[in-house]
């Protein structure tokens, strides 16, 4: 999982939102996802960049959609750590992700799994995001929430694998160039 070392690496505002939403989706997929993130950071040696869970929470709060957002952006090394973290967690959760997006799984079973995921995702979004933002209010629409959940699952599935970080970085940089 190699991302080209670029000291001028940056992501868009939409990328900050999407990165945090992907981590929220991981938490919705895995009930112990929050602890798994910290454990992964410890195992991968990312604590040199983000030393503890408080700092990790601060970095996640750079998402403008948060209830209490921080007006700062991520440094290049922090972006790389967060992206690698998402991709590593996607790799771990790939069997679950694949079941959610596969058309060979029986439809009733797939719908029940997706419904459970959507319920958890909506609850986490309600807890942590600013309800005054239009993007957050759209999560109350079941149609939009279902579509958003499917989009997040697809992104996580495509982020798995050795080339996942490069794809995810490119996706987070959408809209930076005019």
């Amino acid at each position: 999982m190699a991302i080209p070392d670029n000291p001028r690496l940056r992501i868009s505002r939409h990328g900050l939102e999407r990165l945090d939403l992907l981590l929220v989706a991981v938490e919705a997929l895995d009930l112990n996802g929050g602890e798994a993130m910290l454990w992964t950071m410890q195992q991968k040696g990312y604590l040199a960049v983000i030393p503890n869970r408080v700092e990790f929470w601060k970095k996640r709060s750079c998402n403008p959609l948060r209830r209490y957002p921080r007006r700062e952006t991520l440094r290049p090394e922090e972006i790389i750590v967060m992206v690698n973290l998402v991709c590593h967690l996607s790799e771990r959760l790939y069997p679950i992700l694949r079941q959610l997006i596969s058309s060979t799984v029986p439809e009733a079973l797939s719908a029940a799994r997706m419904e459970r995921f959507v319920t958890r995702l909506r609850r986490l979004v309600r807890e942590r995001m600013n309800p005054k933002r239009a993007a957050v209010q759209q999560f109350e629409d079941p149609h939009h929430c279902q579509a958003m959940a499917r989009t997040l699952v697809r992104i996580l599935a495509f982020s798995a694998g050795p080339g996942g970080p490069r794809r995810l970085i490119a996706h987070l940089q959408d809209g930076l160039q005019p």
């Binding site: 596969s102 697809r154 495509f158 794809r167 959408d174």
Partner: protein, 282 residues
């Protein structure tokens, strides 16, 4: 789920590398550098490769086919992350991949004459499996074929905007123009501010000298200042002391012999006040 087995090449100098996912399997056959036959050297020269997509399709190809897969499927997967409807691969090339329905259409063209292209429908899971297999080949240190992963960059803002429908693109400008028009229309309904014109100041001295000229002068002043002459000025002769001297309601200074500076100075500016006059202080 991933099963990447570096080749077993004990008897023959040919090496094999297999990458397996749930819905996809890729098998590479090649030779090590200088025919050394050491498995640790990895594959330097590809002799053939095979791709199996579940139970539906199986194909074999050469190096250019593998390069075409890498250069089309991996960028397409990245575009799918952004929800882009673009396809990848050239029409003259061995394959193209593009969105179709809720899945993806993989069109494989063979170089054999009189053969029709193979049209496959993949779902998201199969596409993810295929991308992971190709990723594993490209990033595997044992595969030294010199196939570089394609460069990836964020979509331009223009591309993101073009994906939106015309109705959605025009929504904000039209809403802004309607808002401006609405505000302008409402501004016509707001009453204009009342202009308080000071009453003409009768000049006693000029009345004694030239009564006719003074009357003409007062009429001219009233006409020029207020536009309509005051009926009091025309019918009733001006009196030096007004009947109800109230300083709070009277906008013009009271003409009196004790204030010659007011009389001789320039005429006071018209007071513009949108509010009604204050009631008298008890």
């Amino acid at each position: 789920m991933t099963d990447s087995t570096p080749g077993t090449a004990s008897a023959s100098p040919e090496l094999q590398l297999e990458v397996r996912q749930a819905g996809c399997r890729v098998l590479l056959r090649g030779r090590p550098e200088h025919g050394s036959g050491q498995p640790g050297d990895g594959i330097h020269e590809l002799t053939s490769w095979a791709l199996q997509l579940g139970d539906r399709a199986s194909m074999e190809g050469e190096r250019q086919h593998l390069e075409a897969f890498v250069s089309a499927v991996l960028p397409y997967t990245r575009l799918q992350m952004s929800g882009s409807p673009q396809g990848c691969g050239s029409v003259e090339g061995p394959l193209t991949i593009e969105p179709r329905g809720i899945g993806h259409r993989l069109l494989l063209r063979t170089s054999m004459p009189d053969s029709r292209p193979v049209d496959l429908q993949l779902d998201d899971a199969e596409l993810a499996d295929l991308a992971r297999c190709l990723d594993a080949i490209v990033h595997d240190p044992l595969v030294r074929l010199g196939i570089e992963p394609p460069a990836m960059a964020g979509l331009r803002k223009r591309d993101l905007l073009n994906r939106e429908s015309l109705r959605r693109q025009l929504l904000h400008p039209v809403a802004g123009a309607c808002g401006v028009a609405l505000v302008l229309g409402l501004s016509w309904l707001v009453p204009t501010a009342e202009v308080l014109v000071p009453e003409p100041v009768p000049n006693e001295g000029s009345e004694r000298v030239e009564p006719g000229a003074e009357e003409e002068g007062t009429e001219e002043e009233g006409a020029t200042a207020g536009g309509t002459p005051d009926p009091q000025d025309t019918d009733v002769p001006p009196s030096p002391v007004p009947p109800s001297p109230d300083p709070s309601t009277e906008p013009s200074p009271e003409p009196s012999p004790e204030s010659p500076a007011i009389r001789s100075g320039p005429p006071p500016l018209p007071l513009i006040s949108p509010w009604p006059p204050l009631p008298p202080i008890p």
